[in-house]
């Protein structure tokens, strides 16, 4: 069994869900044009991955193999709807900004992937840790993308104007295609560094 430190390093770097496993790409494109939205969205994903991993791991002895994945989906959907309800009640403005994307966390392959690959065969606490760190790995990459997209697309960071008024915002940064470019660049940089370190890519 892997140690917590090893899991952290794997999920943040050598096995990062975004740039090594290339999972959860749809949301990486959709919610990264503003840092605030990205932050809330990735906190949501981290919470759901951690809690669903914990729950799947606790119930794994009871789940019949035939309906294993359906039960995992049910558990994931449960936590996503909880997040949605909390946002609607306590952060209505963010809830409106994220719109349908919160519900779409259910289809985020990272969560299902971790439940099936890790929680199904590991004890509860370490599964929860694995889920949380996978969420952090996802968060780190998305925040980097969002940083550049918001900076160049709006001239702001977390909604605060940082570039001078004379700066002409790049409209493409606000639309989804720019996330493809940044994601490509990040995967490129990440893999290059890894190759240099001699790690198997």
């Amino acid at each position: 069994m892997s140690s917590p430190g090893q899991i952290l390093k794997e999920n943040l770097w050598t096995n990062n869900p975004i740039f090594m496993q290339v999972l959860g790409i749809c949301s990486a494109l959709a919610v990264t044009n503003l840092l605030t939205n990205t932050m809330i969205m990735t906190i949501g994903v981290t919470f759901v991955t951690a809690m669903s991993n914990l729950t799947v791991s606790l119930l794994k002895g009871l789940i019949p193999r035939k309906v294993r994945m359906i039960v995992q989906t049910l558990i994931i959907a449960f936590y996503v709807i909880i997040v949605d309800i909390l946002l609607r009640a306590y952060l209505p403005d963010i809830s409106r900004a994220l719109g349908p994307y919160v519900g779409l966390i259910i289809t985020n392959c990272i969560i299902m992937g971790r439940a099936e690959a890790f929680a199904q065969s590991n004890p509860p606490l370490i599964s929860m840790w694995d889920g949380a760190t996978s969420g952090f790995g996802y968060m780190a990459v998305l925040l980097v993308i969002a940083f550049f997209r918001e900076l160049l697309g709006f001239g702001t960071l977390f909604g605060i104007q940082v570039l001078p008024d004379a700066f002409v915002p790049w409209t493409i940064m606000v639309t989804a295609p720019s996330a493809f470019f940044f994601l490509g660049i990040i995967i490129w940089i990440g893999k290059s560094i890894m190759n240099r370190e001699g790690a198997p890519a």
Binding site: L62, P64, I75, F78, I82, A89, P92, M173, V174, T175
Partner: protein, 201 residues
Amino acid sequence: MNKQSLVYTVIFTFIVSFVFVTLLALANDGTKERVQLNQELNRQRAILNALNIDYNGPQDVQDKFQNVEQIERDGVTLYRTTVDGETIYAKEFTGSGLWGLIRGYLAVTANMDRTIGIEILSHNETPGLGGRIDEPWFKQQLRNEKIVDGTIRVDGAGDGDTNHDNGQIDAITGASRTSDAMRTILSRELSTFQQILGGNS
């Protein structure tokens, strides 16, 4: 009991679904009032914005909204208030944009010589392009804009028309279809206002 048997699978699935759905129903019910309050607050805020009434914080919104009278005229709901001795009216509008419905509030003076303002409640226009109808520079154009020949032209494209006496506002560069939609909405809403308020000027 055999965990792979059909009976166990059916019972297990039933219990798991029942438990999770019950928890969700409870969470939903527990926050229902809060969510409704948020929606109502959002609506009141939008109407106050359209009517150009300033407010500080949620409590102030509710207080100021007390002065806004809701009336029915020709089957249309209008919001009426008096600011500095001048009676002004707001009305909800809906219209089809490029991708979906554009909803909001438009306010005019009782004699229909100027608009008071506009507020967008929801839209699905392209972020960074048509989505800019929700940005201050666009909405600011309709603050005290003179209504010429019963309408306001949406024409040209630029950084916003600062002349509030020419009965014209700037369209949005790169968002012709959304600008068309706003043109249609404005002319239709203003003629509806004209019909309702016409005999009252």
